[in-house]
C-alpha cells in the first residue's frame, strides 16, 4: 500500500469534488478537518481564508505546522461560538455518520455558514446490502471497515435517507454528487445511474431554504 502513495499525494477523490465547488477567496471552515489536506489545498489553490476544527491533538499539530488556522475541540461544541453567516462554506467531510445529533449539527452549520457541504459513506451500497443479506453479519467494506463493536459510525444512512432528511428537516440540496471510489479513495468516478445502489459516497451542497 505504501508503494502506491507518491510524494506528491493527490487530493482524495471525494475532496477533489468538494474543492471544485468552492469559490476562490471564500471563507471556509472544515469540521473534523483531520490533518488539513482539504484546507491546505484550498488555501494554496483557491486562496480561501481557512479555519478547521479537529479534536485530536496530533492532527491539530500537523495542521498548524502547515500554516493552517485550526482549533482543537469538539465540532458539536465549537460551532456554537461563531456569529451567523461567518463562513461561505462549512464542510463536514465523511463525519456525519459519526455525529450523535446530526440534525443539531446541520442546523448549526447552516447558521454559521451560507452554504454547507456534507459527505458520508452510503450504507445503501449493494455490497453492504449483499453482506447483510447473504452472511447475516453487520457489513464490513472498504468504506466501512469496522466491526460493529469498534465502529465510530453510529448513524446509518443512505443516499435516499439523506434526500428524505433534507425534505423532512427543510433544507435545500443545491448539488448532489454520488461517487464510486477505489479502495484507497484516491481515484473514482461519478455515479449517475442507481446511485443509492452503486455509489460508495454521497456529497451534498446544501443551504437554508
Amino acid at each position: 500500500m505504501s508503494t502506491r502513495i507518491q510524494n506528491n499525494t493527490p487530493l482524495r477523490f471525494d475532496l477533489q469534488v468538494i474543492a471544485s465547488w468552492i469559490r476562490p477567496g471564500s471563507r471556509v471552515i472544515g469540521l473534523g478537518c483531520g490533518e488539513g489536506e482539504l484546507l491546505a489545498h484550498l488555501k494554496t489553490q483557491k486562496q480561501v481564508r481557512e479555519t478547521g476544527i479537529e479534536i485530536v491533538e496530533q492532527r491539530v499539530v500537523r495542521c498548524i505546522e502547515k500554516g493552517l488556522s485550526v482549533i482543537q475541540g469538539d465540532i458539536n461544541e465549537e460551532v456554537h461560538d461563531y456569529p451567523d453567516d461567518t463562513f461561505d462554506y462549512v464542510v463536514l467531510s465523511q463525519t456525519l455518520q459519526q455525529v450523535y445529533d446530526p440534525l443539531a449539527l446541520i442546523e448549526s452549520m447552516l447558521r454559521i455558514g451560507k452554504k454547507a457541504i456534507v459527505s458520508f459513506p452510503n450504507f445503501g451500497h449493494w455490497q453492504v446490502r449483499a453482506q447483510v443479506l447473504l452472511t447475516g453479519h453487520a457489513p464490513i467494506t472498504p468504506q466501512l471497515p469496522y466491526s460493529w463493536y469498534g465502529t465510530p459510525n453510529i448513524r446509518i444512512l443512505s443516499i435516499k435517507d439523506f434526500r428524505a432528511f433534507a425534505r423532512h428537516v427543510g433544507f435545500s440540496i443545491l448539488k448532489e454528487v454520488t461517487i464510486n471510489t477505489d479502495k484507497q479513495d484516491k481515484s473514482g468516478r461519478i455515479v449517475q445511474v442507481l446511485p443509492n445502489l452503486r455509489a460508495t459516497y454521497g456529497i451534498y451542497l446544501i443551504s437554508r431554504e
Partner: protein, 398 residues
C-alpha cells in the same frame, strides 16, 4: 537519577543537546521617561526615569519585518537564550525554543526579550534607586500593572524603530503581556502566541499569590520593604517560592518524580526536618531563588498579575468586545496538566475571539505531564506548532 534531574529542573534549563545556540549575548539597557516626561501608570502615578534591561538575538532585517517579541513569566528575566560568558553553566530560560534552526529561528528572526517593569533583573523596580531620595524605592515604588509593563516595552520598540511585531509569545504572565499588547497596540501586532495563560486570575491563583506575599510580609526581616543594605527576608521569599513551585507542577508530575520517597533516609525521622524528597526539593528551590530575586519585586509583580483582567480593558467588561479590538493572528496554547491556568481558561479566550469575529485563530491543548511550567520544557509538538505558526505568518508578509 530522576531526582538529580528534578533538582536541575528548577529552571528547566540545560545545554542544547545538538549544541545549537545563539552563542554569546549581552544584556543591554534603555532608559526613558526622563522627568518631566515621566510615564503615566495605570494607577495614575507617574514614574521616571525608567530603565529596561533587554537582550536581542538574530539580526533585524532591512524592513524590520522579522521581529519576535518574547515576554517572560513572573520570575523570569531578559536572558531568554544564549550565554553571557564561556563560564556560564546554563543558557537563557527559553534556549530550547530560541536559537539558530530552533522554533523561534534566530537565523530568520530578530528576537527581543526585556525584563518587566517592576522587576529586579536590570529593569526599574522597587530595588532600584529612587532619584528623589537617593535610596531604593522599597514600598514607595508605585504599583505597576501588566498594561504598564507593556507600555514600557512599547517605548523600547519605539526606541529600536520597530513599528510592527511579526509575532509575540510568552507563557504564564508573559502570556498576559502578549494578550495586553494585542489590544493595547493592536496595529503593531501581526500575530500572537499566548501560552499557559489566562485573561484573568481565578480566585485559586490569587489565593496562592496572597499566601506567597504573606510569607514575605510576615518575615521580620522584611521591615515594611526597607531591608536593602541589611538582612533580607530570605525565609519569607523562599516560602513564597515553594508555594509558587507547587502550583507550577502537577499532581501527576509530583507523584511520578517524588511519590512518598524519603530523602537520604530509610525511615521517618519523627523530626520536623526533611523527611520526604519533595520537601528537600522545595527547600532547595526556595534557597536558590532568594539568591537571585528581590522580595519586593515579587510582591509588586504578583499583584500586577492578580490585578490583570483583560476583559475589563478600557471598561469593555466583555472578553468578546476586547478581542474584537485585536488585529493579530492568534495561536493559543494550553497544557493538559496545568492546574494554575487550566485549559478551560484558554478555551474561554478562544471562544471570545470566535464570537468577536476573529477568524485566524488556532488553539492547541498540548499533552504534557509537567503542569503549568510545561511551556518551559522541550516538547516536540510545542516546538512544531510554534515554528509552523511563526513561519506561516512570516510567509504571509512577503
Amino acid at each position: 537519577m530522576c531526582f538529580e534531574f528534578l533538582l536541575d529542573m528548577s529552571e528547566y534549563i540545560t545545554h542544547d543537546q545538538a549544541g545549537k545556540s545563539v552563542g554569546k549575548v549581552e544584556k543591554q539597557f534603555f532608559t526613558f521617561a526622563q522627568p518631566p516626561d515621566e510615564m503615566m501608570l495605570d494607577s495614575g502615578a507617574k514614574l521616571g526615569p525608567i530603565t529596561l534591561a533587554y537582550e536581542t538575538y538574530g539580526t533585524l532585517n532591512r524592513d524590520k519585518s522579522n521581529v519576535v517579541l518574547v515576554c517572560h513569566a513572573l520570575t523570569g528575566d531578559s536572558h531568554a537564550a544564549g550565554y553571557y560568558s564561556d563560564a556560564d553553566d546554563k543558557p537563557g530560560w527559553w534556549d530550547n525554543m530560541i536559537g539558530p534552526g530552533k522554533a523561534i529561528d534566530t537565523d530568520k528572526y530578530f528576537v527581543i526579550c526585556a525584563n518587566v517593569l517592576g522587576g529586579c533583573m536590570g529593569s526599574t523596580g522597587p530595588s532600584s534607586v529612587n532619584p528623589e531620595t537617593g535610596s531604593p524605592w522599597g514600598m514607595d515604588f508605585p504599583f505597576v500593572t501588566i498594561g504598564d509593563m507593556v507600555r514600557a516595552q512599547k517605548a523600547l520598540m519605539d526606541h529600536l524603530g520597530i513599528k510592527k511585531i511579526l509575532s509575540m509569545t510568552g507563557g504564564s504572565m508573559g502570556g498576559m503581556q502578549v494578550l495586553q499588547w494585542c489590544v493595547q497596540y493592536p496595529e503593531m501586532v501581526r500575530s500572537a502566541i499566548p501560552m499557559a495563560t489566562t485573561m484573568r486570575h481565578s480566585a485559586l491563583a490569587i489565593a496562592f499569590n496572597e499566601v506567597a506575599r504573606q510569607a514575605i510580609i510576615a518575615d521580620p526581616n522584611w521591615r515594611n520593604g526597607n531591608y536593602y543594605g541589611g538582612k533580607k527576608p530570605d525565609l519569607g521569599l523562599s516560602v513564597a517560592r515553594m508555594i509558587g513551585h507547587i502550583t507550577y507542577l502537577s499532581d501527576e508530575a509530583m507523584r511520578r518524580k517524588f511519590g512518598r520517597q524519603l530523602q537520604d533516609k530509610t525511615d521517618l525521622s519523627y523530626q520536623f526536618d526533611v523527611d520526604f524528597q519533595v520537601e528537600s526539593y522545595l527547600r532547595h528551590q526556595g534557597a536558590k531563588f532568594v539568591e537571585r530575586f528581590d522580595a519586593n519585586s515579587f510582591l509588586y509583580i504578583t499583584k500586577a498579575a492578580d490585578y490583570f483582567d483583560l476583559t475589563r480593558f478600557e471598561n469593555a467588561n466583555s472578553a468578546v468586545r476586547v478581542f474584537s479590538m485585536a488585529m493579530a493572528r492568534f495561536m493559543v496554547i494550553s497544557f493538559t496538566s496545568d492546574w494554575l491556568y487550566p485549559t478551560y481558561q484558554s478555551r474561554e479566550m478562544v471562544q471570545a475571539m470566535k464570537k468577536g469575529g476573529l477568524l485566524d485563530v488556532s488553539f492547541c491543548e498540548v499533552e504534557a505531564e509537567w503542569g503549568h511550567d510545561a511551556f518551559l520544557l522541550p516538547n516536540q509538538r510545542l516546538t512544531n506548532v510554534v515554528r509552523g505558526f511563526i513561519d506561516s505568518v512570516y510567509q504571509d508578509t512577503k
